[in-house]
Amino acid sequence: MIEKVLIANRGEIALRVIRTCKRLGIKTVAVYSDEDYNSLHVKQATEAYHIGEAAPAKSYLNQEKILDVMLSSGTDAVHPGYGFLSENDDFARLCEKNKINFIGPSADSMNLCGDKMECKAAMLKAKVPTVPGSPDLVKDADDAEKIANDIGYPVMLKSVYGGGGRGIRIVTNDKELQEGYETVTSESIAAVGKSAIIVEKFLEKTRHIEYQMCRDKHGNAVHLFERECSIQRRNQKLIEQTPSPVVDEEKREEIGEIVVRAAEAVDYTNLGTAEFLRADNGEFYFIEINARLQVEHPISELVSGLDFVKLQLDIANGEPLPFKQSDLKMNGYAIECRINAEDTFLDFAPSTGPVPDVTIPSGPYVRCDTYLYPGCTVSPFYDSLMAKLCTWGKTFDESRTRMLAALDDFYIQGVETSIPLYKTILNSDEYKNGELSTDFLKRYGMIDRLTEDLKKEKEDKSNAALAAAIIHSEYLKSRVQNNNGSSSNWKNKLD
């Protein structure tokens, strides 16, 4: 039985793990970098150890140092959180070798999940639908044309050495394909001296829908419903919700069965996520497995009533799942907004620095996972996620209106945040109607709408702002003209 867990992470996810451990009477060991002396995870853990400099490579990614702390502190398990070492199979193997219970899948399973080509092959074998295309590299333009005709146009020609839009062509007929094949090949050779091309079906107006999955060491597996995470910027999720507006009970079960097969195909244990693209025609295509607890797990907790960290601990302890698929019922609607320190108008560039003041929203069916506190600092060394604001509702609209009220209450001084953008999105008809897609922000011109909303907000507040400015000016003048500068004196004087 796990009695002491080292959390090889920082920020809100470290706090999340500590919270469940504390409740269960399990001791926790925090590790921290030079940048994190005053972070909440240091303050809330049972023990805390300094492990190095601010740069992740010198602290949170330093496997040897973390292992030293585990061994010297008598830790029997490690929770990797997300990011950092969470999907590093070398670290999982290092733990296995040192008899530290790694709370996650086995190193081999993690390795398989991380290898896109091998994982895709395993999925095809398990009849898990993947994006249609060449099973491997295509031989030549004619081979590509044959595959394109099999899967139907439009298709994407992709050099496996490409990236950043180079070495990619979308083609809609045989002629374009033949031309495109030449272009992609020459682009790739020009860039890296070689070329290797695959063909994949091009999907328009896709949604990102993923399934929480869960499998114990005895082979029992369930899915814990889907999450729709289509609202993204630069392929990073901003807003997630469950259920998805395009998944009904029947679809949920259909894809859920596929998810269980996917977990079995890679011998996955512990909690994880199977990610899918959903094409506009309703088809689901597996993309990858995230072999860890995900950022957006709270919304699945809210509709399942489960404590996922406890579930992870139980599975790591070798216990069988305490439920069958038929015991699990989805209850209500949940939304998560990722509160990032970033400037929407500077293409979401990070915004860091001290946070002298912060007001965390609360209230019925509101949950906020965050490392923020008044006087904390948002560090440039780590990712921009400051808080995960989640709301639950018996209906989607209850969840949505609670989120809007909570966003209104959320105040973070000192850094730019994504809060205003989320208010614009959640108030839009497209969001209300569930018209989601991974290009949502561009498709519906959300940044322009945000600009309008911010202007309107300022207009609404202009009288109050002016009143504050007028009073402040008088107050300042009085401090100069009056011997005693206290505010009460000033009030008496003006009276």
């Binding site: 001084q413 300022k458 109050a464 300042l476 500068g485 000033w490 003006l494």
Partner: protein, 170 residues
């Protein structure tokens, strides 16, 4: 006084028109009068009820001509002319008739942000001698008379109290 809110086209005229006692005031903004009751005030911010509605303002950085504040969680930048430099100037002896007073005294407490002159420099009445930061606002301290700067008493980064001598001007 005239005010302009960044990103909003129209400009505003605003002033206190009446003090009602009990921390209540009448304020006129453009053509409309509003009742304002102060609940709390400090150099960091103000809480007040304006026409029965509660508001909270936090003052962030400001200069004498712009104020950066957060009103009910909404950040706003207001451009204005406070004439605050003038008030400080008058109170430090500037603008008066008598030229006898040597000492230039600070009329506000603050931190010395920068010093514009050195011992022996000659200054004209109204020249900036130094800049203080007080209540998050930068205020220029100006010479109250023509003369030569003698025995400058301040250092950059140090704090001065209200009434402290900044320098003599002979």
């Amino acid at each position: 006084m005239d005010y302009k809110i960044q990103d909003i086209e129209k400009s505003f005229d605003g002033k206190i028109t009446e003090t009602l006692g009990n921390n209540e005031y009448m304020i006129k903004i453009n053509d409309n009068e509003h009742q304002l009751k102060i609940l709390n005030i400090s150099s960091k911010g103000i809480e007040f009820i304006l026409d029965q509605e509660y508001h909270r303002a936090k003052y962030l950085e400001q200069s004498t001509n712009a104020m950066n504040l957060v009103i009910d969680n909404v950040p706003v930048i207001i451009n204005m002319n406070t004439h605050f430099d003038d008030v400080v100037y008058k109170n430090s002896g500037g603008g008066g008739a008598g030229n006898a007073q040597l000492a230039l005294k600070s009329q506000i407490p603050g931190k010395v942000v920068s010093i514009a002159v050195g011992d022996g420099d000659s200054v004209k009445k109204g020249d900036v001698v130094c800049t203080l930061e007080s209540m998050k606002m930068q205020v220029a301290i100006k010479a109250h008379k023509d003369g030569i700067v003698k025995s400058l008493k301040i250092k950059e980064g140090a704090t001065v109290a209200k009434g402290d001598v900044i320098t003599d001007i002979e």
